[in-house]
Symmetry: C2
Subunit: 188 residues, 2 copies
């Protein structure tokens, strides 16, 4: 009988990446305050001290997660004509997994924590809101960007952080309405 799982081969770079990945998944499911260094370490199968060693502090680790996750969040791609449809689909059905809107999810989870709020705001401004506003263009771009982003955040919270009890038909109806609203904002 095996008492130990196969010990991870000694590879600092791979271990560091594994920690970052585990942290990303944790922070996408729990808030900054609720995620513990020991939780992340247990997920990877290492000692908690190693997490502190590799990333300096919990705050630095969170920043690293935000930066790493932000790379994959290419919200703005594809043509403008289907933006509303795409975003509505993402926000409502939100196929799990890395990339996509996970970056937004991580930010929303921890935006309540005073320790993480500042980081979240700065990161969201730089990596999400700023580019979005610039991409949008046109008259009232700041207002339209802000409103569109707010709507996406709100639907995200409604469908991810709160339990979902909508039927498939209702989801489809909601998707359609949301897409129309967003698209109207995009088009001006």
């Amino acid at each position: 009988m095996f008492c130990h799982v196969a010990p991870r081969p000694r590879n600092a770079e791979a271990t560091r990446a594994a920690i970052l990945e585990a942290a990303r998944e944790r922070f996408a499911r729990e808030s900054y305050d609720d995620v513990g260094m020991r939780d992340i370490a247990r997920d990877v199968g290492v000692d908690a001290a190693l997490v502190s060693r590799y990333f300096g502090s919990k705050e630095d680790l969170f920043i690293a997660v935000l930066n790493a996750s932000g790379d994959k969040t290419r919200i703005i791609e594809g043509d403008r004509a289907t933006f509303g449809q795409r975003m509505a689909r993402e926000a409502i059905y939100k196929e799990q997994g890395p990339g996509k809107l996970e970056h937004m999810l991580i930010m929303l989870r921890s935006i309540g924590s005073t320790k993480a709020a500042e980081l979240v705001q700065r990161n969201g401004q730089d990596r999400f809101f700023g580019p979005f506003e610039q991409w949008l263009g046109g008259p009232d771009a700041p207002v339209r960007a802000r409103l569109a982003a707010s709507i996406m955040m709100g639907v995200f919270i409604g469908s991810e952080l709160c339990p979902d009890d909508l039927t498939p038909d209702q989801c489809a109806a909601m998707e359609q309405r949301m897409a129309a609203i967003l698209q109207a904002l995009i088009d001006g």
Copy 2:
């Protein structure tokens, strides 16, 4: 020279009410996790032990705050024709103070905390979402209610939890756009 402020007169009921009020203000500004029993006690000018004594536990205190605050949240009043306008004004300018949408603010602040999320979800469903959906009526009421509530939540987060750097003109434009979107959802 006075070394002590006037000691609070011995009145259990008044002290209890003062604790509840202080807790309400704290929970409206910080998340469940960030608010400490000692913080609340300090605001009132009593010992932290008294807070536990009067309300049993932090969780019970939070529930009491949600219930007490919910009474004043009469979202649904006034005529339907101006609902969008009223809500947009509330969400964007959100004159501070008890009542109004403070209940929603308290819920949003702590929705990230796993310890408070369940309470928030149940309370929000019972005191906010359910009545709202019922009041809305008409075709697709659940979908429209959910979408309208999500939009309000999103704008709330955007304007309260994130710093506001919109000019008065931009605020007015945003208010107008948001009001139109909400009103369209209300009317069907």
